[in-house]
Amino acid sequence: MAELAQGRISNIQLVLLLTGFLLGTSILILPGGDIHPDTWLAFLLGCGQGLILAFIYLALARRFPGQTFVKIAEAVWGRYIGKIVSLAFLWYVFHAGALTTTNFLDFIKVSILPSTPAMLLVLMLVGVCAAAVWSGLEVITRCSEVLVPLTILFTLFLALMLIPDFKAANLQPVLQTPLPELLKTSVRVATFPFGETVIFLMILPFLNKQNKSLSSVVIAFALTVFILITGMLRTLGVLGNVAPLYVYPLYQATRSIDLGHTLTRLEILTSINFLTMGFIKASVQLFAFVVGLSQFLGLKSDRTLVVPAWLLMSLLGLYNLPGVAETIAFTHTVYPFYALPFEVFIPLATLVVAWLRKLPREGQQP
């Protein structure tokens, strides 16, 4: 079983993998909608709410060590309801992967390669992820070991290069957003990206030491929120009141870097950040889907599913949303509600039922 998951991942690797996963699309599309001077606070609140969710996932994973969510659902909910629950979960994983692909595609089509056919782009982008999944979880993890530190480095470098354009007055006035508005934004941030950690219920079983996972998750969340706030502050400091005008404010802000006419056009670093982090996110999602589906169907080999999953995810990514306007609307207004059952209700209900039924029973430990 799970030939893709051969080779175990250490806790440090989990930190980097989870950070890369969380930064995935949020390093380009700042979560929470339009930026204003209080967005950083919403990020912190959202990260806190995300941590609460992460506790649920970790509690679930600890109760059933070495088991993916598909197996857990079957054990907790019984054969038939369990199948329905895990099917719903797998749909969420698959659809989230397709959304990542859509974000990829939108950005490249808008800003880099406007006339290259979308089909080709999407097949190649997800193709790289499929190749990584084919090689197994360890390869994805090792990629994140290289790419995440690079992203942190680029983020700090870009923030440094933007100092000449930075105006602190743009960050004022602070604490003027009404509380309900702030909470709304923070909930958006909690569901995207932090709540998406639920997908790691398919990764956590392959961890070396289960009992250290909590600290890894906390560190990864802290790292992510740090990168997000850095990006948000420098974007707002540079763009000010026009930040909400752009589809990709983070990218737009880096376009204004111009140091002595030599260090310029550095927005490509933002693109690289997005492409690498998005690659990790989409790979993790594709991996979770492939492993989950093969366990769901009880297949002997899960590698056979990689190619079909690649093609299906590409197609859904290509056609699920008609355009950038719909993608933005979906990300900011629909997604928080859409993700709620998968990120909160299903894991929470599973945990509660497992607790009520006193699962897993002694002696039934796999």
């Binding site: 808008v110 800003s111 880099i112 390669l113 406007p114 006339s115 290259t116 056919p117 007055a169 743009n170 004022q172 006035p173 003027q176 763009l239 000010g240 009141n241 026009v242 005008l245 737009q252 376009r255 204004s256 111009d258 310029t264």
Partner: protein
Amino acid sequence: MRRLLRTTLALTLVLTVSVFSSIGCWDKKELDKLAIVAGFGVDQVQTAEGDRLLLTAQIIKADQVISPEQAGGSGKQSFLTDQSYGRTVFEGVRNFTFESSRRLFFPHNRVLIIGESLARSGLHPIIDFFIRDPEPRPKQYVLVAKGKAADILSVKTGLEEIPALAIYELLQDYGATSKVYPVTLQDLTKDLASKTKTAVLPMIELVSTSKKKTIMLDGTAVFKSDRMVGELNINETRGLLWVLGKVHSGIIVFKLPPYRHDISMEILEANRQIRPELRNGKPHVTVVIDVEMIIGEITLTKNLTVPRENEKLERMASQGIKKEIRAALAKARQFNTDFFGFGEAFHSRRPKAWKTFGPNWDQIFPQLPVEIKVSTVIRRVGEATKFPILQ
């Protein structure tokens, strides 16, 4: 041996694929297929079909930009100005392909010049293209032409091969006088989006003498919303720069009573603070300016390098600066345009009070009391203590 063969085969495959894919496919841009735009002008004109935008592109002729040794004899122009018409900017840009064999390429555009009549009728219809399209850069300068932008872009300039780059350099070096305010596309976008701060743009004009035509920066165009409503002359422009904190250097010339000789002081460093305050619940702004100066040139034979005279000079310089600021302020009040950004200062630093009077800023601004405090310090006197020719 087999492993070696396999590795070789795999490598060959990978390299072949990357050779074919790295040249790019659909979005390739070859240098010899592009018309690199250095300067771009937009005017409003009347044609037989009605109002149209006249677009003027100054295109670099890459094969004519040659090394200085060769430049002497050739006498060929290294740029080309091309024109096209359109109802919108984008349509006009595509209409260039009717006569230009190459596609216009905007990422290297340095200046965007807008004709005065278009500026007076509003920027909103034309500015969106330059923000929305991924090619134009946010750091290009935007100017208003006195007269038509098309005329400005067709003039050959002195030292630079490409006139648009010459304009760019002129704006870059504004600090020598601090009497020109360079505005980038990004700044303009922010000002247009701001609820209270209004936009300003530097102006450029064509000067014709009997022998030749040249271009010259002159003054600043003042906007209310997106429409140009007036102008600042160069001294008022420096008044604006003092308040915006953009003064780098420059010369202040004044007479020191009771003498009738001119004294030039050079600005070394200037710092400014805008303090939005509430006095009796009413908004009040204090502008504090600290200037460090150096004596640049004196034309009288008295020794001024003594503390008492120095103080007098400092006072005179401060008065000169205040006069410039007051002149700019008078214009701002006259047009009711808050180009200093006082409204934004209140918004960011007095947010609670701003909520009460912010919506009526248009009525408040013309009566807003502004206190100007200037303190000048003369630290150096140049390399001479007195007028060098002894009496």
